[in-house]
Structures are given as structure tokens and as C-alpha cells.
Subunit: 149 residues, 2 copies
DNA sequence: TGTAATTATATGATATATCAATTATATTTA
DNA sequence: TAAATATAATTGATATATCATATAATTACA
């Protein structure tokens, strides 16, 4: 059987790296004492930056299923970082309004994110990052064009 | 607030690429008619290749939590791709024995995996892949050395 | 040798992911 | 305008992930 061990493929290394990066991110967020997941935080930041976006649009911005967005919104609402009210003009839509508590958290945590992003890229040549970005985009395009359904 | 949109960072592109690659993988597996997830399949392949590995060792090979392994083993057993029996020498351990059905599937699906891996990398210079691998390893190392706990 | 520490696996809680189906509302179009 | 279609959000089912804890068995060591 001719099969390359996962750990010798770029696919494995992608999975491994992103997993470690997620851990780094959550770790630094946790250290601040805030009870929020990285994904919840990233979603909330997008809402703060652009309160007009619908959940469907948000799902495109952060590249997640809209069902996931609905559940993350639920959690942000439960934690009082966000309010969800009916949009008066289009009652299918919900207006997502960050609470003062949510805005305060975003303001405090954006520098934390910028910090761990920099830590993750420490010692890496920006030109190499740009090349990697290009490669990843090609890989992603290849995936899209080769779906069978 | 100075915050780079997710989609302009390498971190976002990593998440996006790996998500599209997972979809490509599952799509090609599904097309074969087999009822198995990519992760279950990758795990089963490792077991076929090395039936002596414990679940803890398997979790290192495919870089997943051992709790995840236990649950994936459960599912493989339920689907009759795998048998789990007590190890007579160390009764904490479980021997994981692929069933004939499991072995047949692995033999049929390994070429499918090799095929979609090649599709994903089509048109990409192997030297660039090697460079990207190095960058990802550095990024992963940076994450590991910057955990706060 | 008996107790402590370690190891292997399993499981509960929670978060996230996808897909499919549902509900409600808006929009299109025949 | 009524019926068909599209859109926005929610929810259920299932898979996976992590973390913490539990259980059982083995190994280390005082």
C-alpha cells in the first residue's frame, strides 16, 4: 500500500499548524480573564466594525456556515456581549447590537490579537508569508474546481 | 481600532484552505459510496499499517486528542470497520483489529486519497511546497514557544 | 510490599462544524 | 394579485474538537 504518512504531507502540516495557532490564540485570550472563544471574539469584532451586516454576510466574512454564526450569536447574547433584535424593515433579519460590555471587551482584546499574531509570525520573512499566501490560494482554488458535486 | 480583517491574514487563509481541502477530501470519499469520514479513514489506515499502536500513540500520529481517537474508534467499530478487544498483556489497552470490511475499504480508498491530494497540489511547484512546509513549521514552533500556560 | 505516580481508555460538558429541514418573511413573476 | 421562488435565521442530527474527570491497570519507589 503506497500511502504517505500524514505527518509528511503539507496537508497534515496545515492541520497541525492551524491547530497550534488556535491554541495559542485561545490561550492568550484566556489569560485576559475574559470568558469568550476566539471565534466568538472574531465574530463580535466584525459586528462592531460593521453593525449592518446580516448573519449570512457575516458567515462569508469569517468563512463559516451560517448555522455556526447563529449559534455563536446565541452564545454572545447569553454572555451579554451582544443584543439581537428584530429588524423593523425586514423582519426576517435580526439586528446585532454589541453591548457596552461587548464593546469594552473588543477594545481590550484587539491589541491582544495583534500581539499573538505577531508572536506567531516572529522571525518569518514577510516575502515568504506572501508566497505562502499565494500557494494557499492556489491550493484552495484547486479544491474548489475539483469538487465532484 | 486597528485590526486587520481576517481575510487579509495568513491565518484566515490557512483556515479557509484547510476547510476547502477537507471538503474536497470528504467529497471524493463520499463519491465512492463508502460511509466513512475522512478522519475515520485516516485513522483506520494508520491502524492497518501498524496494528500495534495504542490509541495514545495513534493520537500523536494523526495529531488529535486521544479523546477524539476514542470516539472515532467507537464509530469505526459501530460501522464494522474495526474490532476492539482487550489486550491480554496489558488490560488497560485495547487491541484494534481492522475487519475484512475495513481492510477492503482501506485498499480501495488509499488510491482515492492519493488522487485528490494530487488534484489539490496541481500546478504548484514542489519547491514552493517545501518552502511552505518550512514556514508552517516555524509558525507552529512559534506557537508552541509562546503558550502562556 | 504497599502506596504513589503514571498510563490507557472512556466519558461528560461544551464549542464548533456541516448538512438538511423548518419557519417566517420578502420578492419575483406569470 | 396569487403563486412560486428566494432569503434570513433557527434548529435537529451528527461528527469532531478540547478539557476535565473518572476508572482501571500497571509501574515505580520508599
Amino acid at each position: 500500500m503506497d500511502f504517505t504518512l500524514p505527518r509528511n504531507t503539507i496537508f497534515y502540516e496545515l492541520e497541525r499548524t492551524i491547530k497550534l495557532y488556535r491554541k495559542l490564540s485561545q490561550d492568550h485570550i484566556d489569560q485576559t480573564g475574559y470568558d469568550v472563544s476566539v471565534n466568538q471574539l472574531i465574530l463580535l469584532i466584525q459586528i462592531v466594525k460593521n453593525p449592518k451586516l446580516t448573519q449570512v454576510e457575516l458567515s462569508e466574512v469569517i468563512f463559516k456556515d451560517f448555522a455556526s454564526i447563529a449559534r455563536m450569536v446565541d452564545l454572545l447574547v447569553k454572555k451579554d456581549f451582544l443584543k439581537r433584535t428584530e429588524n423593523p424593515k425586514d423582519r426576517r433579519k435580526k439586528d446585532l447590537i454589541p453591548t457596552p460590555k461587548g464593546i469594552k471587551m473588543v477594545n481590550e482584546l484587539v491589541p491582544v490579537i495583534n500581539n499573538y499574531r505577531a508572536l506567531a509570525l516572529k522571525g518569518i520573512d514577510p516575502d515568504e508569508v506572501a508566497k505562502t499566501l499565494k500557494l494557499l490560494e492556489t491550493l484552495a482554488d484547486n479544491c474548489i474546481t475539483n469538487f465532484k458535486d
